[in-house]
Subunit: 306 residues, 2 copies
């Protein structure tokens, strides 16, 4: 089983990249795109993000055997409601959201009876909108598929093959476990980065000009992920609240311990901690998820992935 | 006035890069290097990090009119004590430490009567040791010089011209202001990165293998600066304690506010904060201190600079 026509609802960085990737890597598969924003639809037509750009979500999905929602996770319920009643009975419904338990619920509530298998391609850049998409975004990145209990194995297989065709490495896990893993590998780092960039911009003793001028001292790296799409990230934190707050609690405890070590001048504790974290960096490079080159191989693909 | 012979005490990333840069960009200037570690001295000879590698610090400085200490800031006092009595009377003493008030005091205590003008080239990578150095490390990076009150203007000018010759943009400020600016642009980001990498490696629900596997979700960027030299960073936090603790306090307050916004579901507060930080990223790119390309132009130079 494979798909004949894919509908992409939401034509930002992820949706646009899927449209371009399907046209490049699955030329036999038709693509239809829709975005709630008329300006984005117009731009998507100019850029050819999909074979057809429909003016309604219902029209976009009506012929499709795979429907992928690529909207912020907080907008999934409304986007799904727009297509209720227009889906092909055999259609598989999926998404690309960064939190999975809440999206699974939003989609199944809005589309009772539909076959729903959520997914999360762990790929992206700090840029957003229809102009940010590119066909190779998913190559050598992970796509996590979270099949609900009782999901049709044939549909899970077809969705896995779809993402593999776009260049992704597919992994299956429960939505709950996905949300825990991403809370630490993606959501907490983004929240920390958003926080420190805000802190640095609110100082009296140091001008914002100085912060920017000397940002190469380390601050710069944080500003990059703190430039990610505000709507997407607001929704991620609100929809993966429990896991994010749990990770945040642990982080705050660890930060307090290092803060105390600095205050009391416990150099050994600092040295031991910094040595341990250095080893983890080595493992990441050995596993090929980063690169010791100055650009950490980012020139090969899309940069930091939300 | 310019320098005829430069002594480099400490042949790690910074000292080795200065030795290579002087040989490339100031071929008329002689270089003598010393490192307390015999293995590092042997490697420095193989790599040609300086024209001469001396077996004692006293011998290295005896003929030099510029002496640059390139050791961890916690080791400055001991390194300076080793050359007391061996300095040329007209020698200028400087350093490359990341905290400046404490280093200025350590050097002047150990070398009473010597002409001392501390400096901090805001340049480096997460790598360390004699093999990590390269001649172009300082090109287009900032070098902050912190002349003490009453410093000889001719010597300040000569030191500025020295760093300009190595490719750096020179800025003058007080040691106290330097320590405040670097606390936010460099020291706090490194402490946060060290913390989150430690937090992520201590989870029960998520394996370290999963953290590494999905690190491209944002976590990866933090591991890079958390791989910086543990000795250097231990000393930075202990010697710039007050400014770091002040910034840490502000960061913790801001983090608590965002944590509360997540807990109570205040999406507007999150959205407003994330929009503001995005604008700061734009300013950094406009000022040329970072780059919107996936590798943020890191391939042009040395990566994240401590």
């Amino acid at each position: 089983m494979s798909f004949e026509r894919v509908a992409i609802i939401g034509l930002g960085l992820l949706g646009g990249s899927i449209g371009l990737a399907v046209q490049d890597y699955l030329p036999g598969v038709a693509t239809t795109g829709y975005d709630a924003d008329p300006a984005t639809r117009a731009r998507a037509r100019e850029l050819g993000l999909a074979g057809t750009i429909s003016d309604t979500a219902a029209e976009a999905v009506s012929q499709s055997d795979l429907v992928i929602f690529c909207v912020p996770v907080g907008a999934m319920a409304a986007a799904a409601a727009e297509v209720a009643g227009s889906l092909r009975p055999d259609a598989l419904v999926s998404d690309v959201g960064s939190s999975k338990e809440s999206v699974a619920k939003a989609l199944s509530d809005a589309l009772p009876g539909a076959a729903i298998i959520p997914a999360h391609p762990v790929a992206g850049t700090e840029h957003s909108g229809p102009d940010a998409g590119f066909a190779s975004l998913f190559r050598n990145r992970w796509c996590i598929i979270t099949p609900p209990e009782g999901a049709d194995p044939a549909k899970v297989k077809a969705l896995s093959e779809f993402w593999t065709a776009l260049g992704a490495n597919v992994e299956l896990m429960t939505a709950q476990h996905h949300d825990l893993v991403l809370a630490v590998t993606s959501h907490l780092p983004h929240l920390i980065a958003y926080t420190i960039v805000g802190t640095a911009s609110d100082l009296e003793g140091v001008t914002q000009g100085e912060v920017i001028k000397y940002s190469a001292g380390g601050f710069r790296d944080f500003t990059r992920i703190a430039a990610s799409d505000p709507t997407m990230w607001r929704d991620v934190f609100l929809t993966n609240k429990d896991a994010v707050l749990e990770m945040l609690q642990r982080f705050s405890e660890d930060l307090t311990a290092l803060q105390r070590a600095i205050r009391v001048g416990d150099g050994d504790q600092l040295f031991d901690h910094f040595t341990r974290t250095r080893a983890i960096r080595r493992s990441i490079i050995e596993l090929g998820q980063d690169d010791a080159r100055p650009d950490f191989g980012r020139s090969d693909h899309g940069g930091t992935e939300p």
